[in-house]
Symmetry: C2
């Protein structure tokens, strides 16, 4: 005899997201999640394979969210990079989760697509991939180090990030097409 569903996968993911951001990965307990959605822990296994699968879902939702933000800001390269850091600062635990190898690598890589498109407009197709990797790697590392508290030598981090953007985007503009040495067209 059917029983009405008392929760949903979306609700479960939502609860996990909140617990994660509030208390880190250790706080994402099957029990805590179940409690948050008004159900007992064993019931969660009807919707998610296990805890790792739930964390993967959380990570993939975060990746998709980040991708959406980057797309929305993809008109200007610096806006996209600022949006990237903003995401990391708003959702530090989700950001860290992205690079945990729990999250599907393709879903994570999709994050770079919007950046790749804007980059192409700046440096041309030949070096778009290298340039996009340079930018995404830098931004990823900056936010990772910032969240880890690795920047200890003072200075305004907002300014440091802007310095990086200006420097990198500027250098990409001048360093285009290194293999068409001098003979015109």
């Amino acid at each position: 005899m059917p029983t009405p569903e008392r929760t949903s996968t979306e609700q479960i993911i939502g609860a996990a997201v909140r617990l994660l951001e509030d208390g880190g990965p250790a706080a994402v307990t099957m029990q805590a999640v179940a409690n948050a959605v008004g159900v007992k822990a064993p019931s969660l296994y009807k919707r998610v394979r296990d805890r790792d699968a739930l964390l993967r879902l959380v990570g993939e939702q975060a990746a998709d969210d980040l991708t959406r933000r980057l797309e929305a800001a993809s008109g200007r390269l610096d806006d996209a990079l600022l949006a990237f850091r903003r995401f990391g600062r708003e959702r530090p635990e989700a950001f860290r989760l992205l690079f945990t190898s729990l999250v599907d690598a393709d879903r994570l890589a999709a994050t770079s697509a919007p950046v790749l498109r804007v980059t192409e407009a700046v440096v041309g197709p030949a070096h778009a991939l290298d340039a996009a990797r340079l930018l995404t790697a830098w931004a990823t590392g900056f936010v990772t180090m910032e969240l880890a508290g690795a920047f200890r030598l003072g200075g305004d981090l907002d300014e440091a990030y802007r310095y990086g953007i200006t420097h990198l985007v500027g250098s990409l503009r001048t360093a285009q097409e290194p293999e068409r040495p001098a003979h015109g067209s």
Copy 2:
């Protein structure tokens, strides 16, 4: 009545390092560590406060190891950056652990000191900090993304890393001293 010590903090850290690299953080169980050093789990608490403290010790040893490698390669900026990536590929779990907020931030920051010194020689003292942050952030992000499998669009990663080094170091060289506009000396 004294009892001979059957293990040591160093041995315990060593076992934890091995377990970490072989099976990730989840494999670093107090039981597994105790077993590896020939003791029962409760005995570990004579030497380390708890599991988190043990992981912190592992992370700090990794940070010191990385710092030593960077110092050894600090003659040339590109050597230092190559050594940084080599460390990440040799000890991916330790590398990830570095940015876990478990590790003391000062100890992590100390890692950047050798890079800062070399950078200073390239761009001068005024922008050494900005430049060092640019480089360490990029390298950190590159290795983080590489380990997470985030580079999915093909291409040789060794080459991509070299591209980054060449581009970044080159751009730093030409972008020096932006605030001494034109009036000599």
